[in-house]
């Protein structure tokens, strides 16, 4: 098993990328007056780790057949994945200025047919894990060695389809499929545990036949080590339950459902960017 043991410089680089992504997220939502900041900030570090350290992809050839697939099933994190794809070179960051505006390819929830690097049209929660399972199954059928990732929201797994997909993926022993749960414990109307309790997650997923890894979703070293363990697990799919903070990185946006879909005022915007740049 690969121990990441990233150098301090490398970890600093990843953190800098994350900060840049977070600024981009807040700017997009501010400019468009629409979008979901809280869940985008919580999933940022996971996406940065995957796109900058893990995924076998080619931004110049986004449809390359043997690429790793990543489905952002929690499509509400669109601003995060668009910013990451831009930073990774799939398209110029300048294009993100059109987010949410008429005729833009950057829909408020991702459209697979419009944006290079987006593998599934998501936003109707609960659907991405099934699509990812189909992709993992196709890899097995064709004896291809690409890996498929599905990023799930914690509120999202209240959808019944997730558990249908969980059964299916374990039944077909899809060890080339890894789900990552962005467990920030906040959904639109409040704390997940108050709205509809999803815990105990380790027991639930284990009993569905999955390998379960719990980690800190804002610690690059831990995220990368967990993904490596997931990729090396054979015979069953893995879910990485990533403990995250909704609104991560901006003090007044953290751990509150108020910033699920809120748009910052001018003052709030400046304060947020200042915090992130410090």
């Amino acid at each position: 098993m690969k121990e990441y043991g990233e150098s301090k410089e490398e970890l600093k680089r990843l953190k800098e990328i994350s900060n840049k992504i977070r600024c981009s997220i807040i700017t997009m939502v501010k400019d468009a007056s629409v979008g979901h900041i809280g869940g985008s900030l919580s999933v940022t570090d996971i996406l940065v780790a995957l796109y900058f350290k893990v995924l076998n992809i080619d931004p110049k050839n986004p449809d390359w057949e043997n690429r790793d697939r990543l489905i952002l099933s929690k499509g509400h994190g669109a601003t995060a994945i668009y910013s990451v794809l831009a930073e990774r070179g799939f398209f110029p960051a300048k294009e993100l200025e059109t987010f949410g505006i008429i005729d833009s390819k950057f829909q408020v929830h991702p459209d697979k047919t419009k944006v290079p690097g987006i593998e599934a049209s998501t936003g109707a929660l609960g659907q991405g894990l099934s699509v990812a399972a189909g992709m993992a199954l196709a890899a097995k059928l064709d004896s291809r060695d690409y890996h498929t990732y599905a990023i799930l929201g914690d509120g999202e797994i209240q959808e019944g389809q997730i558990w249908e997909a969980a059964m299916f993926s374990a039944h077909y022993k899809l060890d080339n499929l890894t789900a990552i749960l962005d467990y920030n414990n906040v959904q639109l109307m409040g704390d997940v545990s108050d709205i509809m309790e999803i815990a105990p997650l380790d027991l639930k997923w284990e009993s569905f036949g999955w390998n379960v890894i719990e980690t800190d979703g804002h610690d690059f070293e831990k995220i990368l080590t967990s993904i490596d363990r997931a990729r090396n697990t054979k015979g069953c799919p893995t879910i990485i339950i990533a403990d995250t903070t909704k609104g991560k990185g901006v003090s007044f946006m953290q751990d509150t459902c108020a910033w699920h879909g809120n748009v910052p005022s001018d003052d709030e915007y400046e304060k947020a960017i200042k915090e992130l740049k410090n």
């Binding site: 459209d111 599934a120 099934s130 189909g134 389809q161």
Partner: protein, 311 residues
Amino acid sequence: MVAVREAFGKTLLEVGHTNKDIVVLDADLASSTKITYFAREFPERFFQCGIAEQNMIGVAAGLAACGKIPFAASFAVFVSRRPADQVAISVAYPGLNVKIIGAYTGLFNGRTGASHMAVEDISIMRAIPGIIIIDPADAAETAGAVRAIAEHKGPVYMRETRDEWPDVFGDGHIFEIGKASEVRSGDDVSIIAAGVMTSEAITASEKLKEEGIGAKVINMSTIKPIDEEAVIKAAAETGAVVTAENHNIYGGLGSAVAEVLVENHPVPMQRIGIRDVLNESGTNRELLNKFGMSYMNIMEAVKNVIARKDS
């Protein structure tokens, strides 16, 4: 007469031989939908999904996104009503090459009753942008449609009939997506029908002929995109239209034809179909009679529209 589902299952096996990208998904109804022929021959390309249709549609989307041609089959109610959002967002929105097969449609459902009767599958699928909808008339056309949709790239919803039903076409029938065909000629009225109702319309046409009424019968097996040209032409030639469908009169073939006529060539028109009710267990013939959808009801509708034409 061949049981239509047998023709479906055997043709799926046939296209499975020629196209190795075809994969088949089941939600525990393979012996009813007859995808068992494919499953026995190609177990490595057959995926049992269990009784979980929402996931089945999503898995099909993922397979299609990686170049496979998935046929996902179940009873029509369970692949339309239940996973409507998955069909819309996972399949139709990205335009993926998934073939959704709905069996046991309309009144024809092996006496299983209202819970298994798809009276609104076509309305649901018609309202989702980007899906081709086919309701074949008989076994030969079902076979032709399976071959055609396997070749066509993009989402398709196709109805499958369970039982034996009178032939409309011979074995040489070539099915073409989006093309209506005139199966009986006549100058007084046009009966535009789909699915099992085409043969019922033919019976009506033949009996009307004995009464001196010329009823053209158009088989409109592709309901979306509808063959507008054929609808307008039939209306122009006969001046009156009756539609006949094994489906709710809201949102199906009758609605589609009415939309075309109202915007292009309004003529007296009447719809034969399920009149906004859920039904009950019974044989196909008993149900057609009870719910006003037999050839006799079509004949009556024909006389009504002809009378309106003359008034």
